[in-house]
């Protein structure tokens, strides 16, 4: 099966999950106590005004009808109207999503770049000091709340040392005219990196720790494989064995873990955005909840789910690319 077919198949398999996400989201949002109309119109609205608004947002129709309408809307890219912002939900999401994606990508980049060497060294030097250090670091990493890391980073590096800004984010592609203190695009990018640094570490530490742990145990297993013995018996230098023979096989579970870690990281993004006051998807969903803007709640929850599913598909495809056996007898 070609990679293209595999991709299509994975996407097809994801469709029921996506519909499931819409369903869960819709019914959860419908459980929300209180009426959004109350919030919009204040404590004593006129009856006809209420009905007009309810009709406008389709709240007067039975729930199953609204569900089908919503499902159809999602399929065509219509996520409804945000009551709080008074703008289409999709528009708000498209505004905020790049921020969160940037944060996520940099966090994972940081995690992968640091974790893989750490894990490999740890496995290679098993039970030596380097291994102990790496294991303690990763143990602390998986045991620390990401928002607390954020707070500590702010206290130390922003307030105390003043190296990095404590809040906000600049997108690298923003117009220099809109960014304070930036004349050129390069300076925008520089500012962006500057702003991104602390949140990236805050969000990425957990992933880094998790990837290090799995990389280590996976490399330990791989280094004990028969094929490694064979390579040794044929005089392959130890460094090549680690870098090539053992490494590539060992990355397969790592990829799976990265895919699963997306879920944690997306949740972590909500916290990190709160800590660093970054206006991304995480803040958007909190704002939506605090204002009972349930179209926006549904929209953001949905998009979080979709982003995760797409991430998992991407990791699956990467996996199938690295493991020749997948195209053969998958499932």
């Amino acid at each position: 099966m070609s990679l293209l077919r595999y991709t299509l198949r994975r996407i097809a398999q994801a469709i029921p999950v996506l519909i499931g996400i819409v369903t869960i989201t819709f019914f959860l949002a419908n459980q929300i106590p209180g009426d959004p109309v109350d919030i919009m119109l204040g404590p004593t609205p006129a009856q006809e005004q209420v009905e007009a608004i309810r009709a406008q947002y389709g709240l007067d129709r039975p729930i199953h009808e609204r569900y089908l309408t919503y499902l159809a809307g999602v399929a065509t890219g219509d996520l409804g109207l945000s009551i709080y912002y008074d703008r289409p939900v999709l528009e708000m999401i498209l505004l905020r999503l790049p921020v969160t994606l940037l944060l996520m990508l940099s966090a994972f980049a940081f995690a992968i770049v640091t974790a893989i060497p750490l894990g490999v060294i740890s496995a290679k030097r098993r039970n030596e000091p380097a291994d102990h250090v790496s294991r303690i670091v990763s143990l602390i990493g998986v045991s620390t709340p990401s928002f607390w890391i954020g707070l500590v980073l702010i206290i130390v590096f922003a307030f105390h040392l003043g190296w990095f800004p404590a809040r906000g984010l600049v997108l690298p592609w923003e117009n220099p005219a809109d960014v304070r203190g930036a004349a050129t695009q390069f300076e925008v990018i520089r500012q962006s990196v500057h702003h991104l640094f602390l949140p990236m570490i805050g969000l990425g530490t957990l992933q880094m720790a998790q990837i290090t742990r799995i990389e280590r145990s996976s490399m330990v297993d791989s280094l004990q494989g028969e094929y490694v013995k064979l390579a040794r018996a044929y005089g392959v230098p130890e460094s090549t064995i680690v870098r090539k023979h053992a490494f590539q096989v060992a990355q397969l579970p790592v990829i799976t873990i990265i895919g699963l870690g997306l879920s944690t990281a997306l949740g972590g993004a909500v916290l990190t955005e709160t800590v660093f006051e970054i206006q991304g998807m995480g803040r958007l969903i909190i704002t939506a909840i605090n204002n009972q803007d349930y179209q926006l709640i549904m929209g953001t929850t949905l998009v979080f789910g979709f982003v995760y599913v797409i991430g998992v598909i991407i990791t699956d495809i990467t996996y199938s690319y690295l493991d020749p056996r997948v195209t053969y007898g998958d499932d």
Partner: protein, 329 residues
């Protein structure tokens, strides 16, 4: 959080003490007594046991004081601002340090918060919430996941398909987002935080148990039992569940830590234990406004979370080493 479950799924434990393939080693590797013996022998597992034991003791103390004595001990030992509203000392640093609000005092070894409450006592009382939520959420996840995973794995077919699609969907929404949406819908207090976190743990245990059941179902001894005419129910209870015990125990231990982390995050966002009930996440949330003048306010609740979760993680890792899933090889 799935990471740990996947670790056991893939049979890639952090095995540290492989015997290296010396010929012909056989050893008794079954039973509860064996588990305890292994835990005693494994240094990591022992340290984990000590930490978890200590935290549990602290939590029990706090619970006793709260439910039985109505904070009598806390008030006797530590200063409570509400008892003396005239003389509130806010945002004091720990003893031995100094900040713009004054000098640390021995009555408040770790300083005071923005309302003048003692940080040490609030951190101690936060343990109660954390442990309760951690254990109960894990229990909910374990219960739900075991039932779904066992049924799904043993019967297979369409039952399996339907159940797996449903849990997959739950899994597809990032945990924290799902719990937030859930709590928005049903209620923002601790009970729903617990249930919500428990629900997110269902897919984790489901996956683990299902994969265990599927692989054990293929084991010859299960087939032998079937061939001998043993009833399905007895096969599940006599063979499958006892043989799934070790990885589930490991996962449950790790999951307690994970649940504590998620609940702390929820409290930080304002979901979960409502003030004035002391919880770590909520303390950290409150500390955000005072990070510049009183940074130590943010430090101690975080360290409490860190130590607690490390305790469970170390215990889980130690158990995993001690009860190597490759025992059947």
């Amino acid at each position: 959080m799935s990471i740990n479950s996947a670790t056991s799924d893939d049979d890639t434990p952090d095995g540290d003490d492989e015997s290296g393939g010396g010929p012909g080693e056989v050893e008794a590797r079954v039973g509860l007594r064996y588990t305890l013996k292994q835990v005693r022998q494994d240094t990591t597992a022992r340290i984990g046991t000590y930490i978890v034991g200590f935290i549990t003791f602290v939590a029990a103390f706090a619970a006793f004081d709260y439910y039985v004595l109505d904070y009598a001990i806390a008030e006797a030992l530590l200063y409570n601002p509400e008892a003396d509203p005239q003389n509130v000392r806010r945002l004091l640093p720990p003893v031995g340090l100094e900040n713009q609000f004054g000098q640390g005092v021995i009555e408040h070894p770790l300083g005071t918060d923005h309302r003048g409450r003692d940080i040490l006592s609030r951190t101690i009382y936060g343990t109660r919430i954390a442990m309760t939520v951690g254990f109960l959420a894990t229990a909910i996840g374990l219960g739900g996941g075991t039932v779904i995973g066992a049924v799904s794995g043993y019967y297979g077919g369409w039952i399996d398909d339907v159940l797996q699609r449903v849990t997959e969907t739950i899994y597809a929404i990032p945990f924290l987002v799902l719990v937030i949406a859930f709590m928005t819908a049903f209620g923002r207090d601790l009970t729903f935080a617990m249930i919500g976190v428990g629900i997110t743990a269902v897919p984790v245990f489901n996956r683990l148990i299902r994969s265990r059941v599927v692989s054990i179902r293929e084991e010859d001894y299960v087939e032998a039992a079937r061939a001998a005419g043993v009833k399905d129910r007895n096969i599940i209870f006599r063979h499958i569940i006892p043989n799934s015990f070790a990885p589930v125990l490991v996962q449950a231990t790790l999951q307690v830590g994970v649940s504590i982390l998620i609940v702390a995050g929820l409290s930080f966002l304002g979901f979960g234990a409502q003030p004035p009930t002391p919880s770590w996440g909520q303390m950290l949330s409150a500390s955000r406004g005072y990070m510049l003048p009183a940074p130590t306010f943010s430090i101690f609740p975080g360290i409490a979370i860190l130590i607690t979760v490390i305790g469970f993680n170390i215990l889980g890792d130690g158990l995993q080493d001690a009860l190597d899933p490759r025992i059947n090889n």
